[in-house]
Amino acid sequence: MTISPPRPRKQVILGAGFPHASPWIAWTDPASHSQIDFSSIRHAAQTAEAGKFDFFMLAEALRQREHKGGFYDVEITGRHHGPTVLAGLAAVTDHIGLVTTSSSTYNEPYELARQLSTLDHLSEGRAGWNIVTTSDPSSGVNFRRGGFLDHADRYRRAAQFVAVARTLWDSWPADIGDGDGPARGEPTPGAYHYRASQFDLNGRFPLPRSPQRYPLLLQAGDSPDGRDFAIDTVDIIFSMHAEAHAGRRFYADVKARAVAAGRDPDSIKILPGSQFILGDSLEDARERSHEVARQQITAQNAIARLEQVWGRDLSDHDPDGPVPPLHDPAAAGYAGYREGGREPAAVAVAWARRAEQHGFTIRELIIDVTLRHTFLGTPSQVAEQIAEAVASEAADGYVLTGHTTSTGLDEFVKSVIPQLQERGVFRADYTGATLRENIGLPAQGPASAPWERAQ
């Protein structure tokens, strides 16, 4: 009788989220430091690197959020220019990927492609770009372009934006050697021409091919259009489906779409954004989760978030009392508030239904629809939950955000990462020279045909 060795369990991919504005940060906790001081950001990135995380990721917003005629004041807020602060982090880290979230609507491809190439050179192959099309219609007030692009146009522009960027990233010869310069008869380095419905560009790109050639590409689109764009274009889907059941459904759908599009399903990774709460026991972690959730969603934030969706003043309501009736879904949403790209009225109706089903208080509702304490337990239990979720194809890994700024991953790195390593599902050390290599992705991302289709 022969015993075959156990099949190695699927490897977990981990990103570290660092929010600059989010209800996920319990800023009243004394362990929460500044989200803007470089020393804080450096600590967070270096901690994630000590834990062998695949990448460190920053979000983006291009307008201060507003509420009832003023600025939204009950959550952490204030952020950096992504490509610039990540260049600073490139100098103080050696292995971890550095992912910026940058808009394809409120940037121009030549400039952003150059910034991403700069970041990939400076970090020796660790740059990533989470492509957002900026669904908040009000961001235009801060930009030359002004106005707003509708959903379909945003995706059309995004697809061509990426195509331009790839053209630019490929515009120098593969090897520039260490010699005198181009040989006679070689094409002019950087010369390119791109023409499609959204862009007509030509000139010379000023940077040679970067170590990864193409930075790692991520995207969070959840609509059918968004899923197809992702399959045509990116390496990683940053998903909102952290819960195992919904995760498996999303995973199966995306991988099936990939196969239908002729793409190796293993070449596109799915990473839900999640949080975790550690404790001495499962029961202890549950209690802590309850406490942390009430720190994250303060009484004031519970009211403000519901006001944003209900579209009316609720300041005389008790955050720990019943959810008031919605009245008029058409009135929902201050300042065009959107969630996950959905229309305000649809969000409001979904929240009202959920509140009724579960008999939630205001605060319970906001905690339910806003937070994702996906993993709860002792370090060993959390490690097992993550390993099992990945093994059962609920995800390829997670983008984890601690609930305190800067220090949020300290305990995870100390106690959960060794448990993941012991189970053989997470690297003991970095093995690749670049971010793509560490994740185990093809050097060049999706082959060139599909994304051209979007034009």
Binding site: T84, F143, G181, R184, P206
Partner: protein, 392 residues
């Protein structure tokens, strides 16, 4: 003769300012695209007590004329985004000012404001910004947003007016979060004092920006803004908009005239006087004859054009031993300049010659201060930290 202490800047520009510099640069081509190469240059400048470095930039590579042979050295002429390059160098240095070039013409004022503010956070108060105008139609074609005709020479004034609007917008955005806007008031659940954030309400022919910024007020509040200026109109503009101006006198005598012209341009200026730095190219050697011979050899290979193709001003070139140059520079200092921006003819040879040869000579001559304990770039330039214009 007692002149106030000079500030020293060094311009980092790839293999060097001279067009033949790349031929003698021992740096392997690929190293030009690695952080460690640039970090070593900045560290050399910092060890040499240089007050600030500027990072040259231009958006695109010059077009190659049809049928022209490939210029040798072309592979080392690429350029990083200079703000990002400065940000990567920031954690690797401790005290030197970092002043990247960024053009105002095709970029978004909002992104410029947050990028330079971020550099100020990463460097903990050592950021500046050298604002430039793009007049090259080739840049416009890379953005595809504005017709090349807008960049014809007769539209130069409009491009400069646009630049003024961008600088004003960036300055307002930097002030749009007052200091102390983040209050973290646990009792009331307020992270932010919403009344200390302000709309900037910029309306111009070219763009409008509502604001506020998404980046809090940075350590310096207003990182110093530098302009390059070569004529009275440009001096006027600098006097209205900048903290620091780089001028290009032909020699020490001309320097006095330029300083007088810049002073005259400041009659309407409120706040501290514009800091005036003269741009100079230096070729240094322990042997004066060898320094001259090197420049002659380089000129034979690639003579610097009378008017540089990228619109930059031709600069005075000083050639000789560190001791010779210190004597010459004492005459420049007497013209009333606040500082000098030295452009190494060839970075590899002339940067260490500046930091190890020229700086000790300038110090011995009493032209520069022995040490500069300043923490921020503003402090280094003798500029107080301003309060936000929106503060009540």
């Amino acid at each position: 003769m007692t002149a106030p202490a000079l500030r020293l800047a060094v311009a980092l520009d790839g293999p060097g300012r001279h067009p033949a510099a790349w031929r003698f640069d021992p740096t392997p081509t690929g190293e030009h695209y690695r952080l460690r190469h640039w970090a070593a240059l900045a560290a050399e400048a910092e060890r040499g007590a240089i007050d600030l470095v500027t990072f040259e930039d231009r958006l695109t590579l010059p077009p190659r004329p049809p049928g022209a042979a490939a210029p040798r050295g072309e592979h080392s002429t690429g350029r990083f985004d200079a703000v990002q390059l400065a940000a990567a160098i920031a954690p690797l240095t401790r005290s030197i000012g970092l002043v990247p070039t960024a053009t105002v013409t095709h970029t978004e004022p909002f992104h410029l404001s947050t990028a330079v503010a971020t550099l100020d956070f990463v460097s903990e108060g050592r950021a500046g910004w050298l604002a430039t105008v793009s007049t090259d139609p080739a840049d416009a074609r890379n953005f595809g947003r504005r017709p090349a005709a807008e960049f014809a020479p007769e539209h130069r004034t409009e491009l400069e007016q646009e630049s003024s609007a961008v600088i004003e917008a960036v300055r307002r955005l930097w002030d749009s979060w007052e200091d102390g806007a983040v209050i973290r008031d646990v009792a009331t659940g307020r992270y932010l004092d919403r009344d200390r954030l302000h709309r900037v309400n910029v309306e111009s022919r070219w763009f409008s920006i509502l604001g506020p910024s998404v980046t809090p007020r940075s350590p310096q509040g207003q990182p110093p803004i530098a302009l390059v200026a070569a004529d009275p109109e440009a001096y006027q503009r600098a006097a209205r908009e900048a903290d620091l101006v780089f001028v290009a006198p032909r020699d020490a005598v001309d320097a006095a005239a330029v300083v007088a012209a810049v002073r005259a341009a400041q009659s309407q200026r409120s706040g501290p006087a514009l800091r005036v730095f003269a741009d100079l190219v230096v070729f240094l050697d322990q042997d004066a004859g060898e320094a001259q011979a090197r420049l002659a050899r380089w000129n034979d290979l690639d003579a610097p054009p009378a008017s540089p193709p990228d619109g930059r001003e031709p600069l005075a070139t000083l050639v000789g031993t560190p001791k010779d140059l210190a004597v010459e520079l004492a005459e420049w200092a007497a013209a009333g300049l606040d500082g000098l921006r030295l452009h190494p003819g060839g970075t590899a040879a002339d940067l260490p010659a500046i930091t190890r040869g020229l700086v000790p000579q300038l110090r011995a001559a009493g032209l520069i201060e022995p040490t500069a304990p300043a923490r921020t770039l503003r402090e280094r330039l003798g500029l107080a930290r301003p309060v936000s214009r929106y503060a009540a």
